[in-house]
């Protein structure tokens, strides 16, 4: 059993997910974790599949007219002993917002587990989910405020709450 990391991107149209999923199913690639979304008219898919060797999945996807890449990866190692936090950033768009903010998060030992950016008109928005080592939140809040001031954007760090029911 092989574990494959697959990316697919192309101009959005109806049927992309069906085409990709069918092609992968046809070679026995079982789609496990995936995220798919439309970004400015491009449909982007990031998939983890288990099943055939990479070359077989690659051949299956070759005919669907999209930009694809298939790579064999090792089994996942999910080490998350951090505390969940959310970072929100919004402000006027400029070069380097993601780079600067994520560098500050990384320097504090924060591991980004999910991140979305949106550019709408002049407004740039970034929301990131971060696993943060215990006790680092106050320090990171201060460092993000400094980075935000330098970038001219607003940055908020807050704990992500989750309720177990």
């Amino acid at each position: 059993m092989h574990e494959l990391a697959i990316t697919v991107i192309g101009p959005d149209r109806t049927g992309i997910v069906a085409d990709v999923a069918e092609a992968l199913a046809a070679v026995g690639a079982n789609l496990t974790d995936s995220t798919m979304t439309r970004l400015r008219g491009h449909f982007a898919m990031t998939l983890i599949c288990t099943g055939p060797p990479a070359a077989e999945a690659e051949r299956a996807l070759a005919g669907i007219g999209l930009l694809t890449s298939v790579r064999e990866v090792g089994p996942s190692t999910e080490a998350t002993n951090g505390e969940p936090f959310l970072v929100s950033v919004h402000g006027a768009d400029r070069l380097g917002i993601v780079a600067a903010v994520t560098r500050v998060v990384a320097a504090a030992g924060g591991n980004i587990t999910d991140l979305t950016t949106r550019l709408t008109g002049p407004l740039y928005v970034l929301v990131a989910e971060v696993d943060l080592p215990p006790g680092r939140a106050d320090e990171l809040t201060e460092q993000l405020a400094v980075a935000g001031a330098e970038l001219g954007v607003d940055v908020t760090l807050r704990r992500a709450d989750s309720e177990l029911l």
């Binding site: 959310l86 929100s88 919004h90 402000g91 006027a92 999910d114 991140l115 979305t116 949106r118 709408t120 008109g121 002049p122 407004l123 740039y124 928005v125 929301v127 990131a128 989910e129 954007v153 607003d154 908020t156 807050r158 992500a160 709450d161």
Partner: protein
């Protein structure tokens, strides 16, 4: 009549100054907020920073809204503060100052809020719930220099707006 300002305008990220509710300029501002809310389709609340005035004044009117339970009609509060909050629940929010995005935000479903009435300066304590509570919290956030983007529930909790009223 002033125009609604949109992010990333700096006034939306600034903590608004407390005001003297008996100041004729503040009374005029209160009137203007209500007038702009009235002529803005779908608008159920408007804070002074949204029209470029960094003052802690906002109006709300959720009368007739399907999500409203308790309603107090149209009202304006100055220097409002939430003194009790409970029954937290998520909900989708939009904002005239962030016209292209909506987001899922957790807000208290029941609040007690204290503020001052423009004109008389009379102190009022208002207890409300459901949609009116959400609207009041959204407007108080504006007066604190916060947008719903600072409170969204996760990296996948912001959405491109599809319907404009």
């Amino acid at each position: 009549m002033r125009q609604v300002v949109t992010a990333p305008a700096g006034v939306l990220s600034t903590v608004a100054a407390e005001v003297d509710p008996t100041d004729p300029e503040i009374v005029a501002l209160a009137d203007e907020l209500v007038a702009i809310m009235r002529v803005s389709p779908g608008c159920v609340g408007l804070a002074a920073p949204q029209i470029g005035v960094s003052a802690s004044v906002f109006c709300v009117d959720v009368t007739g809204h399907p999500k409203a339970v308790t309603t107090h009609g149209a009202f304006v509060l100055c220097n409002a503060k939430i003194i009790e909050a409970s029954r937290w629940r998520p909900g989708r929010e939009g904002c005239m100052s962030v016209p292209d995005l909506t987001g899922d935000v957790k807000r208290a479903g029941r609040i007690v809020v204290e503020g001052l009435r423009p004109g008389t300066g009379e102190a009022v304590t208002l207890t409300t719930d459901a949609f009116e509570a959400r609207a009041v919290q959204h407007e108080i956030d504006h007066c604190a220099g916060k947008l719903f983007l600072d409170r969204v529930a996760g990296a996948h909790a912001i959405y491109q707006r599809k319907v404009y009223l």
